[in-house]
């Protein structure tokens, strides 16, 4: 497979690994921001091949994990209303709400449909005019353009039965929040390549400067990650802090201007609650006033009481890179994918799920 097999080439991977082993002279803590990167690291067994001195900590870049509990409850509530079709990406379905997950609501008869694209939801709204179609629009900057486009599309088609329940989160404010945390041990970041594909690189320069921390925009394949780690380690070893782009085959300095324009047409920046972390200022998108007819939050009077998070779940500490899944006393015991305490155990990008599925007792024995 062109553009994939090259980045899974064992010889090339080995060369980067050798280079990393040669370069490292002291312990470093590096965070890969995106959950997709976490999964690639674990799934390809990369963590077992890196020098012990490199401590990879797993970031908050898992949209499923950081979607607030209250919003999941809202989605469940909407899905259970008669005549509502709730459309969602698949991996939101298992995330526990305060009472139930969307998957449980679906089993109880709610009309919940798993889609790959919000544009498909617009088609459903067109095809089933008697239904209220709500798309659960979660995700980072990556999914925002398509979600925004669905609103524009519905507007063009003059649909009055389509809306989105938006909970977009943004990467740069999260990095800022992590670095502002007194407890943080993070010395370098692998930034999420696909986010920068949309947004470009400009937002990251001030972060590098302010916190003196190297940031390397990195892809998702094994060779991408190893190269990204090598670039970060080289900076750390030489005491430099710069923004570098490993993912040059995809990421342009300016990002994707058309996608950015689409986002800013529909969304505006707002403060956002990150599940397990806290409210981070200017860290999310909400639907602009001019499209408020398509904002499920405004369209439906949803008053769901805030319920406190399960105190046993240490998701916040894990996503801040302060703890690892194995540090949780409930990992693999009380908390398992079929009965999770928190979202990172069920999301396909969650750190706990990655450790649970791909390392299991084997890794624990090896450690």
């Amino acid at each position: 497979m062109k553009f994939l097999s090259e980045y899974r080439d064992p010889e090339l991977a080995q060369r980067y690994l050798d280079e990393i082993h040669k370069t490292v002279s002291q312990p470093w803590t590096i965070m890969e921001v995106c959950g997709g990167q976490t999964h690639s690291l674990v799934k390809n067994g990369l963590l077992s091949l890196l020098p012990e001195a490199i401590n990879m900590v797993h970031g908050p870049g898992c949209p499923v994990c950081v979607t607030p509990l209250n919003l999941i409850d809202k989605a469940v509530y909407l899905a259970e209303q008669k005549g509502v079709v709730l459309c969602s990406y698949g991996d939101m379905l298992r995330v526990p709400g305060s009472e139930k997950s969307l998957l449980e609501a679906k089993a109880n008869g709610a009309d919940i449909r798993i889609l790959y694209s919000p544009l498909e939801a617009v088609k459903i709204a067109e095809r089933e005019p008697e239904k209220e179609v709500v798309f659960f629009a979660v995700g980072f900057e990556t999914t925002a353009p398509a979600n925004a486009l669905s609103v524009i599309h519905a507007h063009r088609l003059k649909l009055n039965n389509y809306s989105i329940l938006a909970s977009h989160v943004l990467v740069p404010p999260a990095i800022e929040a992590l670095m502002e945390d007194d407890e943080t041990k993070i010395q370098g970041f692998l930034a999420a390549g696909h986010v920068c594909t949309i947004m470009g690189t400009e937002e990251y320069y001030p972060l590098v400067e302010r916190y003196g921390v190297p940031i390397v925009i990195t892809g998702f394949e094994p060779v991408d990650l190893l190269q990204g780690i090598l670039m970060t380690v080289k900076q750390l070893e030489t005491g430099t802090a710069q923004l570098e782009n490993q993912y040059t085959r995809v990421v342009r300095e300016e990002g994707n201007p058309q996608a950015r324009a689409t986002i800013s047409d529909v969304f505006q920046v707002t403060d956002r609650m990150w599940r397990g972390i806290d409210v981070i200022p200017h860290s999310g998108y909400e639907v602009r006033e001019k499209y408020s007819a398509y904002d499920a939050n405004k369209k439906f009077a949803i008053n769901i009481a805030e319920v406190p998070e399960n105190e046993e779940c240490i998701a916040g500490a894990i996503m801040k890179g302060l703890k690892k899944p194995y540090d949780c006393p409930h990992f693999g015991k009380k908390c398992q994918p079929e009965n999770p305490l928190g979202a990172p155990m069920v999301s396909s990008e969650g750190a706990c799920a990655a450790y649970y599925h791909f390392s299991g007792a084997f890794e624990q024995q090896a450690v």
Binding site: Y116, F358, F362
Partner: protein, 353 residues
């Protein structure tokens, strides 16, 4: 239906002229409409002496050790590239019998039909059943048809139960799996699941991927003829895919397994579709693939024999049974890292990004 034999069958067996176009509740009532359906000629496709008797049950002679299995098929969509639910219902049960080391002989066939299923669709399903029965050399000897109200089913559900005679040289038993045994996969994985996904509503993408559904009893029979007791265990990785079957074997045998990602056969386009959909091919369903755990000394000969057959031309040795990590399957990734392969929790759900 794509291959020549299927097309020939379709041409040779046109649907009889009927005075109804869709199946309604009455067709499952047991009364006149049921008889009208039974006598319409649609079931003549499956005729044999035993079924012809139309008694409450079939009376048969079986000799020696017998394998007995059942499976229900509730797939959506019921027609997919490479086959339909009818073929699947026969092949699924035939293959379960083959995995016991049995020669499939007889099937029961139960339909639960949602009213409104068109007769042309039903006819195509029956053709699929006939085609698969011929390919596997089995007979449908008893059956049942029920019709449920619209909304109470999903077009059609099929249950098949199968009886087969155990091959005299077969000794398939989880307890015979031992350290050093080789793990062979009989063909390219994940084709069935991806073929189904490619035509699911909301997911359509252009591809020529076809389901791998096929009977495996002929290849298994020839392997047992030649290698008999060297074959320790056979399993078909249907739902849950290769990963699930391997973890089950590891759990039940108390032994570990080492498998090598690079050795696992998968077609390029299937691999690409899995990448695009965010699915792990190790967990995607197969319908024409089996896993054989065999004695190490015989592994190469078994592999070569498999590769000479149509069903097994892409067969590969993907790993070995070990005792270093009991009850665990460890995969060496393409780039040399190691990870554990676990059982799937629920369904694989498409990812956000």
């Amino acid at each position: 239906m794509t291959d020549e034999k299927k097309i020939k069958l379709q041409l040779e067996c046109p649907m009889p002229k009927l005075d109804f176009e869709v199946i309604t509740l009455g067709h499952g009532s047991g009364g006149i409409l049921t008889h009208k359906l039974l006598d319409s000629g649609v079931f003549e496709l499956l005729q044999n002496d035993l079924l012809q008797k139309r008694h409450d049950g079939a009376m048969i002679n079986l000799s020696g050790k017998t394998a007995f299995t059942t499976d229900s098929f509730v797939i959506s969509p019921i027609f997919f590239p490479g086959g339909n639910i009818g073929e699947l219902a026969v092949n699924g049960t035939v293959n379960d019998l083959a995995m016991c080391g049995a020669r499939p002989r007889y099937l029961s066939l139960g339909f639960i039909i949602e009213e409104g299923l068109s007769m042309t669709e039903f006819w195509d399903i029956l053709l699929g059943i006939r085609y698969a029965c011929e390919a596997a050399g089995v007979q449908v000897i008893t059956g049942d048809t029920k019709v449920v109200e619209r909304g109470k089913g999903d077009k059609i559900f099929i249950n098949t139960t199968g009886l087969g005679e155990i091959h005299p040289d077969a000794a398939i038993d989880i307890n015979r799996v031992g350290e050093g045994d080789k793990i062979i996969v009989s063909g390219n994985i994940a084709a069935h699941g991806i073929a189904i996904m490619s035509v699911r509503e909301g997911l359509t993408f252009e591809t020529t991927i076809e389901s791998d559904t096929c009977p495996l009893n002929n290849i298994v029979d020839s392997l047992l003829d030649e290698f008999g007791r060297a074959i320790h265990l056979l399993r078909d990785p249907t739902r849950g895919g290769l990963a699930t079957v391997l973890t089950e074997i590891a759990r039940d045998s108390g032994l570990g397994m080492d498998i090598h990602q690079k050795a696992i056969p998968i077609e390029d386009q299937v691999g690409a579709a899995c990448e695009m959909l965010g699915l792990d091919p190790l967990y995607v369903a197969n319908e024409g693939v089996f896993v054989a755990i065999v004695k190490a000394e015989a592994a190469t000969a078994i592999l070569h024999r498999m590769q000479q057959t149509k069903e097994g031309h892409s067969a590969a040795i993907i790993g070995e049974v070990v005792n270093t990590h009991p009850r665990q399957v460890v995969l060496t990734s393409a780039i040399g890292g190691k990870r554990v392969v676990n059982m799937l929790v629920g369904e694989q759900l498409p990812r956000i990004c």
